[in-house]
């Protein structure tokens, strides 16, 4: 490729002779970013090596850079715990159902809102914007769920999560900027109705936003604990995060006794904690490298219009 634009030439020649100041800047910049990456990675790495090290070595502070006396005892213990498996199963089906319903609600609504001719469009826009900035708060929300007879029902965890106004607006922005008007016009001329156009033309062009929304809703439901905590009473219905909360978040103040017994309790509990952090975060973290470009894409879609 011949470079005719002089601007390109300047850029190339510039790359060859950075000034001293520029070199210092690039080095400091790279060190800064590298340190940040270490700060993110080390705690995650430590959890992994601690999960299969001898718990005594972990408590004694010998585990720093590599696992010590590798053991899978912690994993065995976790795999034997019925509550973790029940929680896993519950979270799995809550998440799948949430995502399916959420897509069925959010994607068509985003399309409807993105059209200029939607009846009452201005009114509905306002209708969806208000909840972004003002809400009734926790207690009225609880009372609504209670009068809908949803207390102690898995639907109390699923239904409120099937629509996020933020996601709706992100979907709307996507449709406004990435479906070519010409195709819609062609479909109209060919006699396709509004629904037909949506299902046969729009949806096949919207894989990116469908993927982003599915991931957002899935991660949201997978990671949530609060609604389950206030609405579910049977432990058999607890999602994974609520089971984890009981394993991980032990209040230190409740641990009484002398230093020795505290240490003993730590020894037994901590290994389980390290392992359960890993077991519960594994699905999301395994998926993450593959889907992260979609996540970032989602934020960018949302930012197009600011």
């Amino acid at each position: 490729m011949t470079v005719k634009n002089p601007a390109f030439k300047i850029k190339e020649s510039h790359a060859l002779k950075d000034t001293k100041g520029d070199k210092v800047f690039f080095v400091i910049n790279a060190i800064f970013l590298g340190l940040l990456a270490l700060i993110i990675l080390y705690p995650l790495y430590f959890i992994v090596i601690a999960s299969f090290s001898d718990p005594d070595a972990v408590l004694g502070g010998q585990v720093v850079l590599a696992p010590v006396n590798v053991t899978f005892e912690g994993y065995e213990k976790v795999f034997q715990r019925q509550d973790i498996w029940t929680g896993y199963w519950n979270t799995l089906w809550y998440t799948v159902v949430t995502v399916l319903l959420a897509l069925a609600v959010t994607i068509p609504a985003g399309w409807g809102l993105s059209r200029k001719t939607t009846p009452g469009k201005k009114f509905w826009m306002l209708y969806f914007i208000i909840p972004m900035f003002f809400g009734g708060g926790l207690i009225p929300f609880y009372n609504v769920m209670s009068s809908l007879k949803l207390i102690n029902s898995p639907w109390a965890v699923i239904l409120p999560a099937v629509m996020s106004v933020w996601n709706l607006f992100m979907t709307k922005t996507f449709f406004e900027s990435s479906i070519p008007e010409g195709m819609l016009e062609a479909a109209r001329i060919d006699g396709a109705g509004k629904f037909r156009t949506f299902f046969s033309i729009v949806l096949p062009l919207s894989k990116a936003i469908i993927a982003v929304m599915a991931l957002y809703y899935a991660v949201g439901q997978w990671n949530s604990y609060f609604n389950a905590m206030i609405f579910l009473q049977d432990e058999g219905k607890y999602p994974l995060q609520l089971v984890l909360k009981e394993i991980l978040i032990a209040s230190e103040s409740t641990v009484g006794g002398s230093g020795e017994t505290i240490l003993q309790q730590y020894r037994l509990a901590n290994q389980l904690k390290y392992v359960s952090v890993i077991v519960s975060s594994l699905p999301v973290l395994c998926l993450y490298p593959f889907v992260q470009k979609y996540f970032a894409q989602g934020v960018m879609i949302g930012s197009l219009k600011g």
Binding site: A104, P119, P131, F134, G136, F141, F226, L244, S280
Partner: protein, 321 residues
């Protein structure tokens, strides 16, 4: 498609509403409305019904009472004045405000700094790798995050082991009220700075390369280009995020704070939101009182948002509405 010759006819039609045409328009576009209906219903149930339920803040309300009936006892602003006179009022305001403002001072510039640094990186591939690493913690759940904090800052956690090996004393950070805010804020930043940076990175990638080239011809160093090209380019985005953050200055949620609370740090970790939860849903629930406190908090947030938006409108062209 409206051609120029049809425009006067359209204007004439506007004077006299043609109901037939309107009906035809509505019928033709009704499918769009039908597609929105499920979303309208969900938002009505879980967002608007609770807003209606806020009325109990002005009532003498017992759980199970209907919100409006012949027997409703209206008490005006009594629940609010009760809160203003609550011994907890000033500590709650202070805890909420301090946690938010310190979090804002650290958490607002950090993603901007990171996005500028990533954008200035010479090796674009390395930039992608860094970005993948930085966004990863965003997907860790709050329960796991607080669990990790306890593992690291517990009495026999990594931090204390390190301190002990250096001859320091072991401290149960979760029982120290002075450690609550630093742990809360730093862990939030650890989790989300990369995620918050994505929006600025997107804006920076849209900067016209010609601007950089022009600056280079003028002899600008890379650092000067950050100051005079990159930062002005993301200024509108910064303004919008600033307005949103100010709107959230008293809006810290209960989810993380509840997980981090212990008897030892309660004096600092009790926030308006966690207090609402405790008074309204635990022990002997006092729902009207808790709703009033929650409403008071929401109103503060809306007022802050409006002030921030108006100020931004006056001094720049950037605003949310």
């Amino acid at each position: 498609m409206q051609s120029a010759s049809k425009a006067p006819a359209a204007a004439a039609r506007q004077k006299k509403p043609d109901w037939n045409k309107r009906f035809r328009d509505f019928k033709e576009n009704a499918p769009y409305l039908i597609m929105i209906i499920p979303a309208i219903l969900v938002v009505f149930l879980f967002n608007y019904l609770p807003i209606y339920g806020v009325l109990i803040a002005f009532q003498d309300f017992m759980p199970g009472d209907p919100i409006l009936s012949g027997e409703t006892i209206w008490v005006g602003f009594q629940n609010f004045t009760r809160f203003f006179n609550d011994v907890q009022f000033w500590p709650l305001m202070k805890n909420t405000f301090l946690l938010c403002i310190i979090g804002f001072i650290i958490g607002f510039p950090l993603p901007i700094l990171v996005s500028l640094a990533l954008n200035a990186l010479k090796h674009k591939k390395a930039g992608k790798v860094f970005q993948t690493i930085y966004t990863a913690p965003h997907f860790i759940s709050l329960v796991v995050l607080v669990g990790m904090l306890q593992l690291f800052f517990g009495r026999y956690g990594l931090v204390n082991n390190l301190a002990a090996s250096l001859g320091g004393e072991r401290i149960s950070y979760f029982l120290e009220s002075s450690a609550f805010r630093p742990m809360y804020i730093l862990s939030s930043n650890w989790q989300d700075f990369g995620w918050s940076a994505v929006i600025y990175i997107a804006a920076l990638s849209n900067v016209d390369p010609v601007q950089h080239e022009a600056a280079m011809i003028d002899g600008a160093t890379r650092f000067q280009r950050v100051l005079h090209v990159d930062i002005p380019a993301i200024m509108p985005m910064i303004s919008v995020m600033l307005i949103m953050s100010i709107g959230g200055l008293m809006g810290v949620g209960y989810e993380k704070a509840l997980l981090m609370q212990t008897d030892g740090n309660l004096a600092v970790s009790e926030l308006i939101a966690t207090y609402v939860y405790k008074r309204g849903l635990t022990g002997v629930p006092d729902q009207a009182y808790a709703t009033a406190i929650g409403l008071f908090n929401s109103v503060i947030n809306v007022v802050l948002l409006i002030i921030a938006n108006t100020t931004s409108k006056r001094f720049s062209e950037n605003s949310l509405w």
